[in-house]
Subunit: 271 residues, 2 copies
């Protein structure tokens, strides 16, 4: 199965568009886990076990692991392997970008070594920096468009020939998407731009960061972003779920927050 | 010393603007090295020993190492450590990009764990994705502007208020550069754009890929890119040097090519 087939199966089976962002920081996990052999993996596994019935996918953010050196990367690899034993597709937030054969080496790192099912890609370098990733037809390639941070206005909103840069990114990316495996990253903090991206890409799946800590609005996101079939969105929450509590009850709180987010999202779907 | 101080000292001491790109691929190194304990490090060390009197800096491209997993990353770490025993500053080509605390984690990976002196950064996400890197005042931060690949025309050349995107990137980046440690990546394949970037950033240092295999012209690069003081450029060559021969004579050939490039560059400097 391709990433998008796995994703939609999981979204339907669990009736959930929620993605749990595994931005796991050794300094923020509950202190009682620090005596474990691999505290980062132990934390991730506990979070996954608590939330897996209500989350359709997980998104580790690779710098959180890379900052811990090879040991952190090993914890990440174990996390991906564990998710795969549960048949859960995994997206890596890596925002990689390079051209041709060098892009292919990043694909080898992330798809080959780690086994991720999807990744995020930065489009600034253009066609020959995006196509090598899209060539992995069974993987999901989420291209940054209008991101959720304040600085997204600096370049992404600049208007060229009547359209902001992020819309050019969507249009050109779709023209390169011969395998139908391009998705887009669109911040929940920009609901009007989300509507514009949905208009340009009615059939695509969007990865939506910015819910929760960053202040994105769920109702506006659903209204403007949902695909006609009630899918087409991956709504990510990281800190709001994984750090809902820093005590012994962190798994219960994470479960509660995931369920709450799933149900709040589903209020705006016909499900 | 800051990166730029180290760099200029090395450029003056060796009378060389050459940077050797360590795009080391296990499949392309001479076969007789494969019996070594760490073939990638052995290759890099041999290349460094052969070229160090004529190259002022080295630029490993991190995906070449990451594609080999933790073992590859260990070879990279050894390479950086070896270059530091020789007092040579090292730039990592990583094209990283993320915001705020997440960007800081990439800085911890590359500056903290590996000890790199400078890195490349993709500006697509704007101010809060560039400033966290610039905050490392002793490090060099090379921001992508007009890159050397064909796809650079797709977005970087789009015109907003009479100026292409890459020029907006230069202007905004300079306005964020409170520590004076921003540099720019400008492809040798775009000499006219290089002149425009030099006009906007007369005091900055540019990292120039695209010489050699990618067809960049040295004369035009020097004419349009050289800073008034005869410095301000880091001219990278990767494959043209490190794979000049695939036989037992690979170090001699690498040395020859480095010396040749240094001297060709110096013909267009007043040195």
């Amino acid at each position: 199965m391709t990433f998008f087939e796995k994703l939609e199966k999981a979204q339907k089976d669990k009736n959930s568009l929620v993605c749990v962002g595994l931005d796991t920081d050794i300094e923020k996990i509950p202190k009682h886990l620090l005596t474990e052999k691999d505290p980062i993996f132990s934390f991730n596994k506990a979070i996954i076990d608590a939330t897996k019935d209500f989350a359709s996918t997980y998104k580790p953010n690779i710098p959180f692991y890379a900052a811990q050196g090879n040991e952190g990367l090993d914890s990440l690899k174990r996390t991906v392997e564990y998710l795969h034993t549960l048949d859960i597709p995994v997206i890596v937030d890596a925002k990689r970008n390079d051209i041709g054969n060098t892009a292919e080496l990043y694909a080898r790192e992330l798809f080959g070594n780690f086994g991720f099912d999807a990744m995020t890609v930065n489009p600034y370098m253009g066609e020959d920096s995006v196509r090598p990733f899209l060539a992995h037809a069974d993987k999901g390639i989420f291209i940054l468009t209008k991101t959720s941070n304040p600085g997204s206005k600096d370049f992404q909103d600049l208007i060229f020939e009547g359209k902001p840069l992020y819309q050019h990114v969507v249009e050109k990316s779709l023209s390169w998407d011969v395998n139908g495996n391009a998705g887009f990253v669109v911040g929940a903090t920009a609901p009007e731009q989300l509507l514009e991206v949905r208009t340009l890409a009615p059939k695509s799946t969007f990865l939506i960061p910015g819910i929760g800590a960053q202040g994105g609005d769920i109702q506006a996101t659903m209204k403007n972003g949902l695909r006609e079939d009630g899918l087409g969105l991956i709504i990510n929450s990281s800190r709001g779920i994984i750090y809902a509590s820093s005590g012994e009850d962190f798994t219960e709180k994470a479960k509660e927050e995931t369920l709450k987010l799933r149900d709040e999202i589903n209020r705006y779907r016909n499900v």
